[in-house]
């Protein structure tokens, strides 16, 4: 290998360019001349720095353990000035990468600005870029360059850079060890990282891992190996890195890509140290643990248990640290664990001696730039110079170069070393960086420390990956698997711990931090899809972790025991960050509001008034078991907690109460009040008592009735003192009396009883008087009726008339009189038609008289019916009726067939007006209408006893009724007049 060989290799794409070109011809990234110094073959030098390192010179655990642990775990203890300083150097890194090439960095900034407009960055990144262009430009530049490189990497199968060759052996090993468990990496995980960019990220993450590893080793020594195998994968916690955080890492790699590698021997894991010792024939360190039976090829690769010690010691050596191992093992798939185990072998080759650098910076309390200025100005302190000398002594490239000569190295590591020798990269770069440190007197430790913190900070923001082009997704399988192995390392970093280390965040990230945390809790922490990561799941749910084949059995058993005994949560309760407290609650019970943090923004007591009023008020929801409610009815009666019953207490809010306070105008309020008033009135109306079914007693009717009764009783009892004269009879009544009076003796008279019993009182006076008049004429009386009650009334009136006429008559005399002079033909069924039949054939119509049915005597054999064949055989027809219709029927049906024989009628006052025309026309020969004519007929015939009093009662009562009618007419007339006036 040519010494002093300068290769103008692009730090981004790794391709060589012309020496005088400042920009990569492939990816247009700012170029930096790398001096590929030959790896020194002097092992003594390597031994010196390694021995110094192990002896604790400069990085002695006993001397610096406290400071290192503070810097590593509690970055918040750093003063703000240091955080700002960190951001400053990070900004410088982002601006140009190499400070001795300001033009290139300026160009890079310009291009990054341009590229930022081309690629869609996450919102937070864009917003931050607007706030802090200095810090975001380099990120954009890196993204752009990475995208270009990824395209080239996907198009070119022959990956000639050292990173591809570095990747390849590890992949082969993985395939060899875990061939069955090897799985295709997730597309999303692939999308997070690019190809070339991922290499840098991987290196950076490994460097941070190694920085922690160095601290862990120091603390582990301090604790006298209390937890030798408890946290072997603490570096995996850095796997939460994404594209965004990779930007800073890439810049860091650009700045000192191989300087960390030169320092890695200071923090090399124990197994690697053992490997180095075996290669260089150096005595292994005393902390090498028990040698487990491993495959042959792993004899030198897995020297002891120290390889599984946690790379970073937590804040305190709490028992929860043991759970890290469990969680990380569970979190990683099998292939990833195997890959990590293999990648862990190469971690020392890529990681930097960040712990040492950070110690230097920590001791100095200054950042790199300040230190550089002090060095240049000659004010650099003696302690710092000691640290630089120690760094100088830590010549890892020499160590690795010697190790390449050893036979214990695996093939892939040999290949890796051969490639490094052939191309002078990357190990040659370590010397270059070292030399640069000597020149510029930089403290690499500062970079390392800041880098690790930065990676941890950026881990939390990995939830918003940048859109990945198809070319980026088309990486080779080996690249993806290797990258994923590193992702597993980074993802295993507890996020809460990362967030707590806010002091080490650059300015732009510090300003971004609260938003980032909030965004992460809102958008990404609920673990979209409802799938919890394995480390969040209960242990019973998680799959049984798979262990590498080379892991000893007792370690596996110990791991299982720890997994069973310890809680799976990666943090202790006291260590949980604020945002993770919400997430770490029982996830099933966490509401979306809790996950989104809305309960912190708006507490229930801060609900707006309108929202409170709209909130439905329900009774406390008690279970039926608490209420001790049993089903009362149905087939489920007696059972508890079955169906909702009427006992369920539900309160429904009133609609008005939920109306809320709206913005209404005064008019609208007035309208609402009117409506409310109306509704209240309607409610009052429902309370009104319904009218009782019993009608209100109308005293007017009985009062009028009593007045009328008194008007009748007084004349009946006291007599008619006002008018003692008999009532005047009408001409028709007088004609009727004359018609009867003019009958010959023993004439046959047809008497038709066609009135209802109700009218007997009105018609009885004239009827009795007329019958008695006929009795006196010894007339033969034939009774007939078209009304069913007529025959009975005829018998009754006959008996009363006989009794009134001849009260001294015996019963026998009466019967004889009746048998001789009276014939009751009975009821003529069929109304008008029966009269027509009777007129045409009296025998046929009245074949069976009333007595024939009762006494069995043939009617037409009676003496009263002798010589009667037709209607005109009757000397007189007397019709006693209450109805004008019946009277008219008799006139229409019978009167024309009487051959001039008279027909008289005794009718009620109701029928009189309708029958008077027939009287006027001569169709009716006499009409005795109403009680007045009855009283007159009775008086004219010399019959009756109460006619005077009855006539007086009728007049008095008629007067009272007339007064009533007039009073009612006046009253209702006035009422109608007033109502009409009101209407008008």
């Amino acid at each position: 290998m040519d010494e002093n060989q300068f290769t103008n290799r692009c730090p981004m794409c790794g391709k060589e360019n012309a020496p005088d070109v400042k920009r990569c011809t492939f990816c247009h990234a700012a170029l930096q001349a790398f001096k590929a110094e030959p790896i020194p073959s002097d092992t003594s030098a390597e031994d010196d720095w390694l021995n110094n390192l192990r002896a604790g010179n400069g990085f002695d655990n006993s001397a610096n353990q406290a400071e290192l642990s503070e810097e590593t775990n509690g970055a918040e203890k750093l003063p703000p000035e240091e955080a700002e300083d960190d951001s400053d150097w990070l900004q410088r890194l982002g601006q140009g990468g190499v400070e001795n090439e300001p033009e290139a960095s300026q160009d890079a900034n310009t291009e990054s600005v341009q590229s930022s407009g081309d690629e869609p960055f996450p919102t937070w990144t864009q917003g931050e870029s607007t706030r802090d262009d200095n810090s975001s430009d380099f990120l954009s530049d890196l993204r752009k360059s990475t995208a270009i490189e990824s395209e080239e990497a996907s198009s070119e199968e022959d990956s000639d850079d050292w990173l591809d060759k570095l990747r390849q052996p590890s992949q082969d090993d993985v395939l060899t060890v875990e061939e069955d468990s090897l799985q295709t990496p997730d597309v999303d995980a692939i999308a997070i990282f690019g190809t070339e960019e991922d290499n840098l990220n991987r290196l950076d993450s490994l460097s941070s891992w190694q920085s922690r590893l160095s601290l862990d080793e120091q603390e582990a020594k301090a604790k006298e190996d209390t937890t030798p195998l408890s946290e072997p994968k603490r570096a995996d916690e850095d796997a939460g890195i994404d594209r965004n955080k990779d930007d800073s890492i890439k810049n860091l790699e650009k700045r000192i890509p191989f300087e960390d590698t030169s320092q890695e021997s200071m923090e090399v894991p124990s197994w690697l140290q053992d490997l180095q010792n075996s290669i260089n024939s150096v005595e292994p360190v005393d902390y090498v643990g028990e040698q487990a039976p491993v495959p042959d090829w792993m004899q030198g690769l897995v020297p002891d248990e120290g390889a599984f010690e946690p790379p970073i010691e937590s804040k305190d050596a709490s028992p929860s640290d043991e759970s890290y191992q469990t969680v990380e093992d569970d979190f990683q798939p099998d292939w990833l664990q195997a890959l990590q185990s293999s990648s862990g072998n190469e971690e020392p080759a890529s990681t930097l001696n960040e712990g040492a650098a950070s110690d230097l910076l920590k001791e100095s309390g200054k950042d790199v730039e300040q230190l550089a200025e002090e060095i240049q100005s000659g004010t650099f302190s003696h302690d710092d110079e000691d640290s630089l000398s120690e760094l100088r002594d830590a010549n890892i490239p020499e160590l690795l170069g010697d190790a390449n000569e050893a036979d214990q190295l695996p093939d892939w590591l040999k290949d890796f070393d051969s490639v490094s020798e052939a191309e002078g990269l990357p190990l040659a770069g370590l010397d270059e960086v070292e030399s640069e440190l000597e020149k510029n007197e930089y403290h690499i430790d500062e970079f390392s420390l800041t880098d690790s913190q930065f990676v941890e900070e950026q881990t939390d923001t990995k939830e918003e990956p940048l859109p990945i082009s198809e070319d980026e997704k088309e990486g080779t399988a080996s690249e993806k698997e290797e990258i994923l192995s590193e992702v597993g390392e980074l993802d295993s970093v507890p996020r809460g711990e990362i967030l707590e280390e806010e002091v080490g965040i650059p300015d732009w990230l510090t300003a971004l931090q609260p938003e980032t945390v909030e965004d992460s809790t809102k958008a990404t922490l609920p673990f979209e899809g409802g799938e919890l990561p394995d480390w969040m799941k209960p242990e019973s749910v998680r799959d049984e972790p798979e262990f590498p084949a080379f892991l000893p059995d007792f370690e596996i058993n110990k791991h299982k025991t720890n997994s069973a005994d310890s809680e799976v949560m990666p943090f202790e309760a006291g260590e949980l960050p604020a945002w993770l407290d919400d997430v770490s609650e029982p996830f099933e019970k966490a509401s979306s509001g809790d996950l989104l943090g809305t309960h912190e923004d708006i507490s229930p007591a801060e609900l707006p008034t309108w929202l409170k009023q709209m909130k439905p008020r329900t009774a406390p929801n008690q279970s039926y078991a608490e209420l001790n409610v049993f089903q009362q009815i149905g087939p489920l009666a007696g059972l508890q907690e079955v169906l909702p019953t009427s006992e369920q207490n539900r309160t429904f809010p009133a609609s008005r109460a939920n109306a809320g306070k709206l913005l209404v105008s005064d008019d609208q309020k007035k309208s609402a009040e009117i409506i409310s008033t109306l509704l209240n009135k309607m409610g009052d109306s429902s309370k009104l008592s319904l009218p009782s079914h019993k009608k209100k007693f109308n005293w007017l009717r009985p009062a009028m009735a009593m007045v009328l009764v008194l008007a009748i009783l007084i004349p009946l009892i006291l007599g008619n003192r006002f008018d003692s004269e008999p009532p005047a009879m009408s001409a028709a009544a007088t004609q009727a009396f004359s018609a009867v009076q003019n009958l010959e003796d023993e004439s046959t008279v047809l008497v038709a009883f066609d009135f209802e019993p109700a009218y007997s009182g009105e018609l009885s006076y004239a009827t009795k008087a007329m019958l008695q008049q006929l009795f006196q004429k010894n007339a033969r009386l034939v009774f007939v009726s078209t009304n069913a009650t007529g025959p009975v009334l005829a018998e009754s009136f006959l008996q009363e008339s006989i009794d009134d006429l001849n009260p001294q008559w015996s019963t026998e005399a009466v019967v004889n009189f009746n048998m001789r002079n009276v014939a009751n033909l009975g009821y003529l069924t069929g109304g008008t038609a029966s009269l027509q039949e009777f007129v045409n054939n009296p025998h046929q119509a009245t074949r069976f008289g009333l007595r024939a049915a009762l006494d069995g005597v043939s009617t037409w054999t009676l003496p009263a019916l002798n010589n009667l064949d037709s209607v005109d055989d009757f000397a007189l027809v007397i019709v006693l009726t209450h109805s004008s219709e019946i009277g008219r029927t008799w006139v229409e049906q019978v009167q024309p067939h009487l051959n001039g024989n008279p027909i008289i009628m005794v009718c009620s006052s109701v029928a009189a007006p309708m029958l008077m025309p027939y009287v006027e026309s001569g169709q009716i020969n006499g009409l005795v209408a109403g009680i007045n004519n009855g009283y007159g007929y009775q008086a004219l015939a010399g019959q009756g006893n109460y006619y005077e009093n009855a006539d007086g009662a009728l007049k008095t009562s008629s007067l009272v009724v007339t007064l009533f009618l007039l009073a009612g007419l006046i009253f209702f007339g006035i009422q109608n007049w007033r109502s009409n006036r009101i209407k008008e």
């Binding site: 025959p791 038609a833 169709q923 007045n932």
Partner: protein
């Protein structure tokens, strides 16, 4: 014995009268009881009367004891009566229409014949007879009365005439002279109905007086 029966029936009549008059204070059980008694007694009486006065002598006896002619003559009303019983059954009620048609048809024919010959001819003849120009007193009065009767008759008929002719204006109004006569006839009808109402009122008062006389006689007899 007869005296006791008379006293019993007198007391019964008195109590039933008081029960009916109790309606002055409103509907009450006494009034309803009296009404139900009257209705029941009348229904029973009519049933017995119809059986003994109509069905037995007019249908049963002729069919049993009658001559063949009488039997044949009795079959017609018997058959129509049986058909009339089908009116009680919905499916067979149409069979009763034959009897109903006979009853309505015969009754209408009898009524129309009697109305023509008894009322129209009789009343027309009577009005014409009043217009006979006979010398004597009251001639002008009778002529005026005849004119009034004629006017009343024509106007009353016009009042109940509702026939109209369709016009272009679709104004369904009777002819003008009919409208005039209808107004006159309305007055005649109103006077007639008033007279009828007065007769009803007098008939009611007569019935009340008759019942109060019965009560007074009853109380006077006890006193």
């Amino acid at each position: 014995m007869a005296g006791l029966m008379e006293i019993f029936w007198t007391i019964t009549a008195f109590l039933l009268t008081l029960m009916v008059l109790s309606y002055l204070i409103g509907d009450n059980p006494l009034f309803r009881a009296a009404v139900y008694i009257f209705v029941g007694v009348v229904a029973g009486y009519v049933t017995v009367l119809v059986i003994y006065q109509v069905i037995q002598p007019r249908i049963i006896w002729p069919l049993i004891y009658g001559t063949p002619n009488e039997r044949m003559y009795a079959l017609v009303p018997a058959f129509l009566s049986v058909l009339l019983l089908f009116k009680l059954s919905n499916p067979l009620r149409r069979l009763g229409n034959v009897s109903m048609a006979y009853i309505v048809g015969a009754g209408a024919a009898i009524v129309i014949g009697g109305a023509i010959y008894g009322t129209i001819v009789g009343q027309g003849s009577a009005v014409i007879s009043t217009l006979q120009f006979q010398a004597g007193s009251g001639y002008i009065g009778r002529v005026a009365e005849s004119i009034l009767i004629f006017l009343g008759t024509i106007s009353s008929l016009a009042y109940f005439h509702f026939g109209t002719r369709s016009t272009l204006q679709n104004n369904s109004r009777r002819p003008e002279f009919v409208e005039v006569f209808s107004k006159v006839g309305q007055a005649f009808v109103a006077i007639t109905l008033g007279a009828v109402f007065a007769g009803v009122l007098l008939a009611s008062l007569s019935a009340l007086i008759d019942r109060l006389i019965v009560i007074i006689q009853m109380l006077g007899g006890w006193g």
